[in-house]
Structures are given as C-alpha cells and as structure tokens.
Amino acid sequence: MTATLVVRDLCKRFGALTVSDHVSLTLPAGARHALIGPNGAGKTTFLGLLSGTLSADSGTVVFRGQDITREAPSRRVKRGLVRTFQISKLFANLTVFENFYLPCNELAGTSANMLRPARRNGAVIDKADAMMADLGLLDVRDRLAAELSYGQQRLVELGIALCLEPKVLLLDEPAAGIPSGETGIILAAIERLPPEIAVLLIEHDMQIVRRFASGVTVLVSGSVLMSGTPDEVMESQEVRRVYLGRTGRRRLAGARDA
Amino acid sequence: MDKAVSFLSFVILYGVSYGLVLFLISIGLVLTMGLMRVVNLAHGSFAAIGGYLCAFLMNRYAFPYGVAVVASVLAVAALSVPIERVFYARLYGASELDQVLMTVGLMLATAATITLVFGPDVYPSSLPGVLARNIDLGFRTFQAYRLFVIVLGVALLVALWYVFDRTSFGALVRAAVDNPSMAESTGINVKLLFSATFALGSGLAAMGGAIGFAMLPLEPLYPFKYLTLVLVVVVLAGIGNIKSSAGVAVAVGVVDTTGRYLAPTYGAFLIYGFLILVLLLRRLGAPGRGIA
C-alpha cells in the first residue's frame, strides 16, 4: 500500500543556518503522527516545506505517488495536502459561516461562478453548516471571526482546513495558547478527525502526544533524532537528555499513569 | 564635436540641476516612508508650500532671495510638526489604503488652500538678477541659476551625507529605518525622532520647492504634477535607502531631461517605462507574491 506522504532527505538552508537536514518521514493513510522537538528545531519550517510555502534545497516530497516537491502551495491544497497555522490565519472580518463558505466554495469549484447567487450554492452552504455543527460553532455562526474567543478561533482554523477534505492534514500546534479550560473542544475535534486522513501534528504538550499519536518523530536542530512509538521515544535516553529534561520526564510519567 | 559638447553640457546643466531639485524634494519622502512606513502622497505639498512662500516673500515683502529661501524652509519645517502630530500620527501602522486616502485628502486640501490664497494660475516668481543672468560658454549659453542649483544641491548633499553618516542623529534615523521595533526597545524616543525626521524631510522638500521654482513652476496642482516623479525616485531608490536616492534622483533628472530633449514626442514616457521595467525586474527576481 502506497503511503500517502513520503518525505525523503528534505534539506533547507538559510545562508549558513541549516533548518532542515535530510529529514525523512512517512505517513500512511490514517496515520496519527506527532512531530516534537525543542523550539527552533525546525518543525514549523518543515511544515512550510511540505505545504509549499518554502521551497526545499534538495530532497523529495511524494504525495500519493506524485512528486510534488516543486509544486505551488495552492496546487498541493487541491491535491489534498492541507495545513493549519500556529497563529490563526482567519478571515477576521468575516463571519464564521463565511470563513467556512470560502474554502468549501473553492473545493466545490463554484468560485468561478459569477451569475448564480451565492445563497443558492446549496451544497456548499450545507457543507459549511455541517462543519460548524461538527465543531460546535453553530451558535457563533454569524459572529465575526475576530470577535470569537481564542479557543473558538483555533477551531475555525481547524475547520477551514477540514472544509478542504484533506487527505493529509498538517496541524501546527493546534492547541497552543488556548486556556486550559477550552482545550477540551479542540482536542475532541482532533480525535474525531476522519480515520482515513493522515495527520501530522506538531506539539509540545506530551499529554496530547500520548493521547493522540501512534508515532512520534523527534526533530532537533533540523535533523531527525529518532522516530518511533510514543513509548519508545519517551524511553529513549537521548530524547530525554536533549528534549524532555526532568520536568518532561515527570509529566511523561504522569501521562503514562493517567 | 561641438554638438556633442553642447548636448552633453545641456544634459549636465539641466538634467543634473533638475535631478538635484528632485533629490531635495524626494529625500524627505524616502525618509518618511522608510522610517514611519507611511505612504505620504502629500509630500509634494511641502515643496509647493516652500516654493510659494519663498516667491510670496520676495514678491510682497521684497525679501532678498537667499533670505526668502531660508525663511520659507524654516517656516515649513516648523509647520510640519503640528501637521505630523495631528494627521500623520494616526497613520503609523494603518492600512495602505487609509494612508493613501488621508494623504490624498491632504494633497487636495493644500491645492485648495493654495488656489484660495494665490489663485489658480501659475504664480509669478522671478529670480534675482545675478542668477537670471546668462553665462556664455561659447557652445552654449545658460542661466547662472542652473549652476547655482548644482552647487547648492551638491553642498546640501554633502551636508546631508555628513548628518546621516557622522552624527548620532543620523545614526538614530538609520537604525530606526532599518529596524523600527528594535530601535524603540533600545530606548530611542520614537515620537521625537519621527517629528524631527518629518520636519527635516519637509524642510528639505521646501528647499527644493524654493530653489526650484524657476524649474518647476508654482501652480496649485504642483503636488499632483510632481508626485509621480517623486514616487519614481523613491521606488527606484528603495524605500529608506538614503544613499542611493541622490544618485537615483539625478539619474531620473538626467533621463527625463534627455528624453524630452532628444525625442520630444516620446521622451516623457522614458522615465515611466523605465520605472515599470525596474519594478518588473525586481519582482521577477523574487517570486512568491502573496505567500507568507
């Protein structure tokens, strides 16, 4: 079975600084994989290379058998490779509904339609509504995205990506910055992601990683330190030394017993 | 041979003097856009006011030329301080459209005020006799005025270079242009710096308008007319790029003058065609529009 996303030896340099050093990763369909590492390890850069906003110096990105290494971001999105951002990129002055309408509109291919009223775009409207229902955002349907709570905004960020029916979903710290009381909703949403989607999740919170991921890759200074199951990674002496430190180990112990 | 010398001397005298006047007017905008990141389409207004004030003082109160120039420069610089506080302070960090709209409004207001006070026609302005005199070099006669502008322009250029390269004020401005937030966090009083730079830029523009009034005639639509040329200089030099703006301004002056001289029909296009070319080349050398 061809894996959905195969990344081989991806390299990226900014002048003298190597931000990605022969990074390889494989995501089969249905994967739930986490990418962890200290700050500045190059995790977000890696997502940028996968989504196409950054162009790699060398290496390949193969998506469902097709080499997309040189493809433009919007083409990759059309193929089903979608990412979210650590800092939400919403349509702040548009309503939640409109935030979902736009991606659904593009996916359905109706955005070239100039003569039909937008409100008759039934399929798209239904999809947007369904997405809001799924994420529990129906009661803020007509509120401007800028007026939502931070947690709700992160939900919208996730929702926009989901509207595009991705085959591979790259999540950049989806729960980051959300007050602990509100994290539940977004974590539940992540858990409810369709099983066929391959998901790569950048996270710092080990509890989330433990709960959600079946595989973990540790990135340090742009290169892969190790890859394995969450247990393997967390047992590893090297990882502990480089990344987890004493506090991390305690949390890990706590998570394991939880 | 004679023709070549005549042509060359024409280009140098007229093109360079024109370019230096453009430099004086544009440097303020280069600074403002680099430092405050405000698209100030009304910048030409300061040049216009400087020119009008100078001519007015000479016509109405018989000020000698030199005094009139200095007086108008100081007046405009002083005037710019409250204007900056009242109108421009809001534009820092505002959207480009807002900046364009506000400054267009200011440009209109200036044009309207000028028309109300001085009338819609070209305002008569005359050079003092010593400058209006013609000098005869054999292959070409020209006004002493042109030479005067070049001399003065170069002197100011040197003075400005000194200020920006050698004084701490200049260093502050360059630092803040380079990295505004960093500058602020090192304790530089940004507000004061902005006001001072704005006043300097406006004063220089007024100087350009005043010493240039025999080249760029004074009329209410002055800010509009020279807006495009000034913007051309700013964009070609690179926003905030103080060093290259002198060279660019002179080049623009020379190219524009030469173009109009050699091919009166199509010469005017030259500089704008050149701008488009530069914009395209810059853009095609750095792809990736719209993507973060």
Binding site: A118, C163 | F87, A268, F269
Partner: protein, 325 residues
Amino acid sequence: MTYRILRRGVHPAEAGYWLALLAIFLVFPTHLSLATTALIFALFALSYDLILGFAGIVSLGHAVFYGVGAYSAGLLALGGVREPISGALLAGLTAAALGACIAPLVLLFDGLALMMMTLAIGVIFYEAANKLTWLTGGDDGLHGIVIDPLFGVFRWSVYGYTSYLYVLGWLFVLFVLVRTIVGSPFGAALQGIRENTTRMYLVGAPVRLHLFRVYVMSAFVAGIAGALSAQTTQFVGLEVISLDQSIDAMVMLVLGGAGRLYGGLIGAPVYIVVRDWASAWNPYYWMFVISALLIAVVRFGRRGILGAADGLADAARRYIARGVP
C-alpha cells in the same frame, strides 16, 4: 463594511434610490446635465468599487479604462459608428481588452508597488494621449462627436432629456450586473482575497485568475462610463485619462463607502453636488470641502456615508440604511 455573502433580496431603500433618480428627471429638468455627469461618475466609481472595495486592489490609474472608453467611443462616432448603444459596448470591450493586457503586469504586485505600477501606466497613457494628437486631438481633444438618435427615435436635445435617461438606463443595467457578480460565489471569493489573500492561496483559490477576471470586468464598466461621457458631452478631452480622474474615482467611492454596492452611487452625486454648490460661493472652495470630507471619512473608519448612515441607524434603531448593499 463587508457585503454579506448570503445577502438576500432587495432592500426597500434601494427602490427609493432608483425612483429618486427617475424623479430627478421630472423635478429638476434644468439640472439634467449636472445629473447626467453625476450618474456617469457613479458608474465609474462603481467600476472602481469592484477592484478596490471588493477585491482590495488599490489602483491609482483606473482612469486609463475610463479614458480609453471615452476615446474609443468618440473615435467610433467620428468614424461612422454612430449607434449609441453599440458604440458604448464596443468602447467597453476595448477597455476590457486593454484590461486583459494590463492585468497580468499589475497583478504581479501588491501594496505600494502595485500603486506605483498603476500610477506609471496611467501616466504613460496620459502622455500618449497628449502626444498622439492625430488620434486623440491632444490638448484640444476630440470635437464634434455626433451620435445617432437613441433607438433611432429619441434625439439628443440640448436640455439633456435623452442623455439623462440613456445614462440612467446604462447605470441600472450595469449595476444589476455588478450586483449579480458581487453576490455570486465568485464575489464571495473576491472578498476572501481582500480579507486575507494568503489564506485564499492556501485554500486552493486561483487568486490571480480571480483578480484577473474582476480587473477585466472593472475595466469594461469603466470603459462604458467613459464612452457615455463622450457620447453625452460630444467631446473628449485629456482630463478623462488624467491622474485627477483616477483620484476622483477613489475620492467619490470612499466618500460613499467602499465595498458597498451603493458606495459609488452615493458618493459620486454627493461629490458633484458639493462641487457645483460650493463653486457658487467660490470657485475653489469645493476642493477644500471635498478634502475635508475625505479626511473625515478616513478619520472615522473609512466607512463613508453609507457607513455613517448604518451607524446612525444602529444608534437610532431606525431602519434607514441598515442592510443597504
């Protein structure tokens, strides 16, 4: 300020607007030439709204299309194509074709560079019109443009009855067209581009293609506005393609409210009326009033007259302009 994507129906105030325009015909028969100018400018401002208000393209050279439309219509008439409607359409299509050529260049850019590009192109066209006297009449302009009676029946009188209704007809038809486009899924995508261009790229939208389309359409409408100017005044002067004309479009639109369909349709008449009325006091006073209005609009949130009316309606809880598109 956003045109809500699922907007439905026609607001009663809209009917009022168009009826008022018809009423002007009956109530102010002596001011028809001024009113006609106002409507032509409204159409031009509407075209500018498409790119500025809805797609977020800040162009300083939109008069190029207005001017090309005007010169085309004038030249067509002088060349024997005197039927007004086809003349205007052909002029509009010429402007649209030009738009299709310019758009790929202009849309490479963003922000200040885009403004400069449009400015430079505008100046080049102005200088071209100035210099190509055999084509445009240069400084003197195109004179003696004669148009056949409308539908072969209605003559163009000095009082401007036919002119006014002719322009009003065009304005209405094109307004309905623009309204349809803006209310379509395409229109929604345009607003998305204006609000967050990067995100639109990242939801797979063909951003440049969308912008190209709206740019060409905007050029078409602007071209027709220019053509109407040529046809009703029987003259085309350099001012139609000048920087002033481009700035006028911006000012009129912003006055009324950019991003609102009726923005230009309100802003243009206000601008014209103020200009006319203030000129009576003092020929130069109007520029002052307009600049003050513009600065006030920017100062108070750039929502223009319609935005202010919205604010009043909300505050007073009365159904004045709320929901007017």
